[in-house]
């Protein structure tokens, strides 16, 4: 079970969001642009510090203002696929994929490079540089890179938003396969209802920093 209960004052508005998500499958954070969805998952990842609240993944607190817990991002075991990919331009695809994996102790790894490469269909890209990849290829590598840290939760922030319809159709099946292949909870941010219908089992609606519908099922 994922528990998110956060408060954060931003310039434009106040985020006061609380929801729970099951420990398996895709849970979507749905809402219009600028509703605070990205801020919420940035707080889950540890990239944005909440003013107060509680963030727990399967009973392990990542942030708990009452008990003074605030793990840095590198200790949260939370994978993050960014909207813009954020592949390291000076490293090959292979080195990008291995960047986080090498930092995880062997006994905690449950994802292997070969399996991810096969699942995402990126074997032919391994020696290339990110600059030479198409948008869809970049996002597949970014997904693989996050997955290879063997995370206990995967965050995806509109991973398809920068892609055209054709590329979307290229990446979407990979994300769906991912949720099945590794029984791993995914928080999936999107403002596109079609994507959510195609991917998510559960959803949370966010508007102006608040959760307006705690939980629904597609």
């Amino acid at each position: 079970m994922i528990t998110v209960q956060v408060e954060k004052k931003l310039d434009a508005f106040m985020i006061q969001a609380g929801f729970q998500a099951p420990a398996k499958g895709v849970t979507a954070l749905f809402g219009p642009s600028g509703a605070g969805k990205t801020s919420i998952i940035n707080m889950v990842a540890g990239l944005l510090r909440p003013d107060g609240g509680l963030i727990q993944v399967n009973g392990r607190p990542l942030f708990d203002s009452q008990n003074g817990i605030d793990l840095p991002p590198e200790q949260r075991r939370v994978g993050y696929v960014f909207q813009d990919g954020r592949l390291f331009p000076h490293l090959s695809v292979r080195a990008n994929l291995a960047y986080g994996m090498r930092l995880v102790p062997k006994e905690r790894r449950y994802v292997e490079l070969e399996r991810v490469v096969a699942l995402l269909g990126i074997a032919h890209l391994l020696e290339r540089r990110p600059a030479t990849l198409s948008g869809g290829e970049k996002q597949r590598v970014a997904i693989g890179r996050a997955l290879l840290t063997s995370p206990s939760l995967l965050l995806m922030d509109e991973p398809l938003a920068s892609l055209d319809a054709l590329r979307k159709a290229e990446v979407l099946p990979f994300i769906r396969r991912l949720a099945d292949a590794f029984s791993l909870p995914i928080l999936y941010v999107s403002h596109d209802w079609e994507e959510i219908e195609a991917l998510a089992a559960n959803w949370v609606v966010v508007e102006a920093g608040r959760v307006v519908t705690p939980m629904g099922s597609v």
Binding site: A45, G46, L47, P72, P73, E74, R76, V78, G79, Y80, F82, D84, R86, F88, P89, H90, Y99, G100, L103, V104, R128, R129, P130, A131, T132, R145, A146, T149
Partner: protein, 234 residues
């Protein structure tokens, strides 16, 4: 072309110049990178003051810097006396002092170049590296620093060229001692002060131009190559 042959004294000045400049760059690069990082990535109340201080050598007359170094770092200076007593290091009137003068004078150029390249590094990449399990130091070494390479190269080479040309602060701080502190510009200056020095002065003048031009070309070429590599064009 016989007049192009350098005298031993001129050769010594050239060697000393290269030696002093190399040391000035090597010694100030880590400090320069750290300063650039502080200026680009941190916020604190006295920051404009630090920014100004870093840039002072660019706008002050070099002789002022030389005099300040003499007062602070000379054998009886505030810091110089401590260095002498506790570390046994004397920088007054020897090549180490010339290194210090060159490093201080070249520092703003280096920091500017490094800072520009640091500001061009997307903080989003650093954040991504954190979520992949890398702590701040590892992120800096494996992500930030490699992406800054073009700026670091440019900064180092600009500082090297600036150090080769350093005159005012050096002559004020460590004087003009042949073989000790007489770098290329100082030797050139000495030659202009004697009646039969014209040929020597012309040689050193030409040499200075060649070295400076080469440094600029190498800097430009290297930083282009690295930028291309980052864009994946190899």
């Amino acid at each position: 072309m016989g007049w192009l042959r350098m005298t031993p004294a001129e050769l010594a000045a050239l060697k000393l110049s290269l030696w002093v400049s190399a040391w000035a760059v090597a010694a100030s690069l880590p400090v320069g990178i750290f300063t650039a990082w502080v200026l680009a990535r941190t916020r604190f109340p006295g920051k404009p003051l630090l920014d100004g201080l870093v840039h002072l050598p660019l706008v002050l007359p070099p002789v002022v810097i030389g005099y300040l170094l003499l007062v602070l770092m000379g054998r009886h200076g505030l810091i110089g006396a401590l260095l002498d007593r506790y570390l046994g290091v004397v920088v007054a009137f020897n090549w180490k002092g010339a290194v210090l003068a060159a490093a201080v004078m070249a520092f703003p150029l280096m920091v500017r170049a490094v800072r520009l390249s640091l500001e061009a590094v997307d903080p989003g990449l650093e954040a991504a590296a954190r979520t992949l399990g890398a702590g701040p130091v590892r992120v800096f070494i494996t992500i930030t620093l490699p992406l800054m390479t073009p700026g670091i190269i440019t900064g180092a080479i600009l500082a090297f060229a600036r150090s080769l040309g350093e005159f005012g602060a050096t002559i004020t701080f460590v004087s003009n001692i042949p073989g000790q502190t007489q770098t290329l510009p100082l030797a050139l200056y000495a030659l202009t002060q004697v009646p039969e020095g014209e040929a020597g002065a012309a040689r050193l003048c030409l040499l200075s131009i060649v070295i400076a031009m080469a440094a600029l070309l190498v800097s430009e070429g290297l930083s282009r190559r690295f930028t291309r590599r980052l864009r994946g064009q190899r």
